[in-house]
Symmetry: C2
Subunit: 153 residues, 2 copies
């Protein structure tokens, strides 16, 4: 089974111990699950993430939210244009600093978040991801630590 002119098994070797490789596979899996579960709502994961965080932080500056979510400024601009066009988010320029943009949910945006909260945050998905309850919780903890989320929480 060590390759060599066969069509059968593709050996991965130490690749199965590579964090980068496993993260990629896991993310593919998670995205498939994500899209498979709610195909019709019309928002992409990143868009709902921003919507959710705006809801939690009304009036927060656009750039602060982008930094926290590790979204680049240029991307944030385009993403918000879609959310504003969809009528889910409004922006306003505060008089204290007229360069900046503060973000708010519209009534429709709040309603959208309320309706799709748990499914779009995939909070109940772990069980369907072939992990047990405890394993899922431990995975989330380790990923958070890896991502440096703890020092900021």
């Amino acid at each position: 089974m060590t390759g060599s002119e066969t069509d059968h098994r593709v050996e991965l070797g130490d690749l199965t111990r590579s964090l980068g490789f496993l993260l990629r596979l896991a993310q593919l899996q998670a995205f498939e699950t994500f899209y498979a579960r709610m195909p019709t709502h019309g928002l992409k994961p990143g868009e709902f993430t921003v919507l959710w965080v705006v809801g939690l932080n009304p009036g927060q500056r656009q750039g602060n939210i982008a930094d926290r979510l590790r979204i680049k400024p240029a991307h944030m601009t385009k993403l918000l244009q879609r959310l504003v066009a969809a009528g889910l988010v409004t922006r306003s320029v505060p008089k204290t600093d007229r360069r900046s943009m503060r973000l708010y949910l519209t009534a429709e945006g709040r309603d959208f978040v309320d309706r799709h909260r748990s499914s779009l945050l995939d909070l109940h998905a772990p069980e369907r991801y072939a992990l047990g309850e405890e394993e899922a919780a431990e995975l989330l903890r380790l990923l958070g630590k890896l991502a440096g989320l703890e020092g900021q929480e």
Copy 2:
């Protein structure tokens, strides 16, 4: 600190329990570490992954390797064109099925893999990823299970 017209903390709420969000952050972190550690070798992560697997499975069909790594056929074609142009991989058409392409490392390719093996598989990176030895091992195990790697191993 629940938002509302301040510039200070950006709350994430249950987002910190979203598998999809944490996978994204973790992957960003891992890629930064990846690129930070070996900036000069000239291969992207996906390219080295293919190189590695070809080395483990000489003569394997291009499509089988792509399937296993979850790389789409069109992408695999372009990725291989770069590896062939770099002199690291050769392809040959077997007489048994002249539609297919079998992949091999060149001597240069084998040498490249030998030289960059552990650093490009990020096998020693976990310690630098702010995780302890045991935590890193557990994270790898859980990610592998999530990605469905176990049934195939």
